[in-house]
């Protein structure tokens, strides 16, 4: 297994958050009743023609600019022909030969450090409708989604692991959400991913035969799908078999993928330029104007956080994943002398605690960080205070005062507790003296207990060690 490496390329579909559909004037609403967000164009009535929504073009250009791609001054919509009941025209309008964006890149941060994933292209296309299976009624078609604008972002096969794939997707999502062109809510299917994967012996230059897994809609499932498919391909090769080029369906319930169709019976999409739509032309001036609308992106923020707040690249990446979180971090970090502590709280403590609560006032969080960083409370008290802050929004300083939680930092107050423990647990003390180093930790815990968690743990250790020499 370890002799092999996975070679992975991703195709990511992202729904653009435009006001209207891509080729008609239907407004895109939240949760419309079936077939109420439709017209004769998006239900593809005979004789109807698509009209390009310029906002879609602008959003696609912004997506391209945000990843450093080349914006093509001329691009063309093509027809991708295939029959399926959710596709009312029996072709999807997409881009094949002349996409709107070529190239680009996404820098990712993994445990192993930084890596660049190159992009092949970004193109615009329309979403299809949705099939709804209703017991007793059969299968019905809902055309609300038909004509919702998407971009497809295609990566080069630069990804080598599930971890890298997830880091790439998170970063890509962050960039696109920051840019303001999408909400990319995974649970709503606004970001979906196809995984192309092949394996080869490490050091090999040629690519193996790849398989494609379609329409995976969560980061975790992408990770599972990659790990499963990597193992499956390696097992096939190790057993002397060959990989068949095929499309596989990933089942998120079993975590397994199964063959959908092989290359032999793959669709021939018969792409050709859509004669109903004139080529899309873009002037430099227009591209420059769109560029000026793009806000500070995750990488720029990340660099700024590392510089201004002295946090690690890894932490900075996590904090910039979500624009809301990054905005929040910045507010809190500016109100404290201990931004690193804010970062720790947000990355390590908050996710476990903050399930049902909104984020607290950033100034109050800064207060908590100050208390902790200045040694006025210890880390376990800090967690308690954080819980209280989330639940009631109480000022940390006030809460600490009211509950008498200030850390005991002076020897005079702490020493009686230490002596008491040494007396009560003489046998444990003896164990330590006899060389059982672990015993010290247990003694520290007992002192902590007696002080109701308020003691400075470093000071306890020092005092205990002095007495046990």
């Amino acid at each position: 297994m370890s002799d092999y490496e996975a070679v992975i390329g991703l195709e990511v579909h992202i729904e653009l958050h435009t006001k209207r559909k891509i080729f008609c004037f239907c407004e895109i609403k939240e949760d419309p009743a079936p077939n109420t967000q439709t017209c004769e164009v998006c239900t593809s009535m005979p004789g109807t023609l698509p009209v390009m929504n310029r906002e879609v073009v602008e959003f696609a250009v912004k997506a391209g600019l945000a990843v450093g791609g080349t914006i093509n001054h001329m691009s063309q919509m093509d027809r991708k022909n295939y029959f399926y009941p959710d596709l009312p025209k029996a072709y999807q309008i997409s881009q094949n030969e002349h996409p709107i964006v070529s190239g680009g890149k996404v820098d990712i941060e993994t445990e192993a450090g930084q890596k660049t994933i190159r992009l092949t292209r970004i193109h615009m296309e329309e979403d299809a409708g949705k099939l709804v299976h209703i017991e007793g009624e059969g299968t019905l078609v809902d055309c609300n989604r038909a004509g919702v604008p998407l971009i497809e972002i295609v990566s080069e096969p630069d990804i080598r692991s599930a971890e890298e794939a997830i880091a790439f997707l998170k970063k890509l999502r962050a960039i696109m959400v920051y840019t303001g062109i999408t909400l990319a809510r995974m649970q709503e299917g606004e970001m979906r991913c196809d995984v192309n994967l092949s394996v080869r012996k490490k050091g090999d230059k040629t690519l193996g035969t790849r398989t494609e897994m379609k329409n995976i809609n969560s980061f975790a499932f992408v990770g599972k799908a990659i790990e499963g498919e990597f193992k499956r391909q390696v097992d096939v090769l190790e057993a002397g078999g060959t990989i068949i080029q095929e499309t596989r369906r990933f089942d998120d319930k079993t975590g397994q993928s199964t063959s959908m169709r092989t290359k032999e019976d793959a669709d021939d999409y018969r792409y050709f330029p859509d004669p109903d739509l004139v080529p899309i032309r873009l002037e430099d001036k227009e591209i420059e104007a769109l560029k000026s609308e793009i806000p500070e992106l995750p990488d720029a923020r990340k660099a700024r956080y590392i510089k201004d707040f002295d946090i690690s690249a890894y932490d900075a990446e996590r904090l910039t994943d979500e624009r809301d979180m990054a905005d929040y971090f910045e507010k809190a970090a500016k109100a404290t002398t201990a931004p690193k502590t804010i970062a720790n709280i947000l990355i390590s403590d908050m996710p476990n605690l903050q399930k049902d609560h909104p984020l607290p006032d950033p100034v109050k969080l800064a207060e908590l960080a100050d208390l902790q960083a200045d040694g006025e409370i210890n880390s376990s008290t800090a967690k308690k205070v954080l819980s209280a802050l989330l639940e009631t929004g109480v000022s940390p300083r006030q809460y600490v005062a009211e509950h008498d939680l200030l850390q005991i930092n002076d020897e005079a107050t702490l020493l009686p507790f230490v002596l008491e423990v040494l007396k009560e647990r003489a046998s444990v003390a003896e164990d330590y003296k006899a060389g059982k180093k672990k015993a010290l930790q247990s003694l520290i815990g007992m002192v902590m207990q007696k002080t109701k968690g308020r003691a400075n743990p470093v000071l306890i250790r020092t005092l205990l060690e002095d007495r046990l020499k």
Binding site: E40, M45, G47, L49, R79, A90, R270, F272, P275, L277
Partner: protein
């Protein structure tokens, strides 16, 4: 007076309506009577909208009473080819597939004519999905040529041409992809314009080949034609291939004569296969134009020999995609007894489409298939570009071209339906026009030995419709 309306032009009829010599309702009832009388033999109509026509006429009479409205189409009875969508009125494309399809919206052309005050008599017959040269591929039976009912009216807009030639409608809208307005107009002895690509909105006209389709008027006279074009031409925000290029009034200057104009006689339109009587008639008109002060000049367009095969590939390829939506899922015919999804598609499309449509869909699907795309579709597009640039070169030295519309006159019903290749060859003079996106005006100039109309066409540079009408009026005068 009402007995004479069959011989009257739109301008004369409009005058009659305004001076209350007859009402729009009387005029409409006359048309409906003509339809009732002639339809059993001609079969030009698929759907006659008699009630709607009377309503339209009454509304027109009200508008006429105000005297404020000057649109010459107000109260004039016309017909639409049955591939022009009409809200609430079934639009069949002469196919079993759409036998009961009632569109929820109207084509821009239909809306514009309704706004102008046209009285809608009904929807006229055509070749199924506009694929054919004779109107015999219609699911609703063949239309017959009013000039000789043993002959075909031409196609695909055979119903449109026959309705006008048979005095059922004062004018009709047809659509042209590779000659579907020009050729039936020639066969039925009426005036037909194929407008420049982009002049008339395609919104609501059921697509055959999107890059070639254009709707246009079929009328009794050249000026009538210009009046109808006035109502339908112009950019439509619902069709991004339509352009902001229309003339404010296509009748302006049409009586200026041909003096000073240069007419090109393209060698390639007078080669082998052209009936002598047609050749003589066209050259005779050229001579007459010369005597009126025009210059006649021989020109050559050597790439035209590739136009027909390239046209067949491009139009079929686009059709294979355009007609894919008729799959039995969302609207139109669905076959009974299918046992799987694939079965629904196969059965529905096998039963819903006629033989000619299926032939072209298969051909087009093949031409776009992976591995064949470059050799067929792409190559055909290159030929198309080449043809366009040859026309452009020719139009640098001539005002327009003068040529026959078809190599033969209307042939007997039932004769050609078995030999598609021979049939396609009859399109050789009209397909290059659509391929280059040019306008052409088809007009009757003589009769052959069997008394059948001979058509001549004027082919213009893009958006030179007014110039075609100007020459057309002169030709009308010298051939009367």
């Amino acid at each position: 007076m009402i007995d004479k309306v069959n011989q009257m032009t739109i301008s004369e009829l409009s005058e009659g309506l305004r001076t209350r010599e007859f009402s729009a309702e009387e005029l409409t009832r006359h048309s409906l009577q003509m339809i009732e009388q002639k339809e059993p033999e001609l079969n030009a109509f698929i759907t006659v909208t008699a009630e709607r026509a009377i309503e339209d006429a009454k509304a027109a009479d009200k508008r006429l009473a105000t005297k404020a409205e000057t649109n010459p189409l107000l109260g004039i009875p016309g017909a639409l080819k049955d591939n022009v969508c009409t809200k609430g009125i079934r639009t069949t494309c002469a196919s079993k597939t759409l036998e009961n399809f009632v569109p929820p919206y109207s084509a821009t052309v239909a809306d514009r004519l309704a706004d102008a005050g046209m009285v809608l008599l009904g929807k006229v017959n055509m070749d199924e999905f506009a694929m054919g040269q004779t109107s015999e591929t219609s699911y609703f039976g063949a239309t017959k040529n009013p000039r000789n009912t043993n002959r075909v009216p031409g196609g695909s807009s055979g119903g449109s041409a026959a309705a006008v030639a048979g005095d059922e409608a004062v004018f009709a809208i047809g659509s042209d992809t590779g000659g579907s307005i020009l050729q039936p107009s020639a066969f039925c002895g009426v005036i037909g314009l194929r407008p420049s690509y982009g002049l008339v909105s395609r919104n609501g006209i059921v697509a055959f080949a999107s890059s070639l389709d254009q709707a246009g008027p079929i009328t009794r006279t050249v000026k009538d034609n210009a009046l109808v074009l006035n109502a339908i031409a112009g950019h439509d925000p619902r069709d991004t291939t339509s352009l902001h290029v229309r003339e404010p009034d296509y009748t302006v200057g049409i009586t200026d004569g041909v003096k000073g104009l240069t007419f090109g006689l393209p060698t390639e339109f007078f080669g082998e296969g052209l009936a002598e009587s047609i050749k003589d008639a066209v050259l005779d008109v050229a001579k007459k134009l010369e005597s009126l002060g025009a210059t006649i000049k021989e020109v050559s367009l050597p790439s035209l020999k590739f136009a027909l095969p390239a046209y067949v590939l491009i139009s079929s390829a686009e059709a294979s995609s355009n007609l894919a939506r008729f799959d039995g899922i969302h609207y139109g015919y669905r076959a009974e007894g299918a046992e799987s999804l694939d079965d629904v598609y196969v059965k529905t499309r096998s039963e819903g489409f006629g033989a000619e449509v299926k032939r072209r869909l298969m051909l087009g699907t093949f031409a776009l298939s992976s591995g064949y795309y470059d050799a067929y579709y792409k190559k055909a597009q290159q030929i198309r570009t080449l043809i366009g640039s040859e026309f452009k070169r020719v139009f640098a030295s001539v005002s327009m071209l003068i040529a026959p519309v078809a190599p033969v006159t209307a042939w007997p019903l039932g004769q050609s339906i078995t030999d598609p290749v021979q049939l396609y060859l009859n399109d050789i003079y009209t397909v290059p026009i659509g391929m280059a996106g040019l306008p052409a005006l088809s007009l009757p100039v003589a009769k052959d030995e069997d008394g059948l109309p001979i058509g001549l066409q004027l082919i213009g540079n893009r958006f030179q419709e007014r110039l075609l009408y100007r020459a057309g009026v002169s030709i009308e005068e010298v051939t009367r």
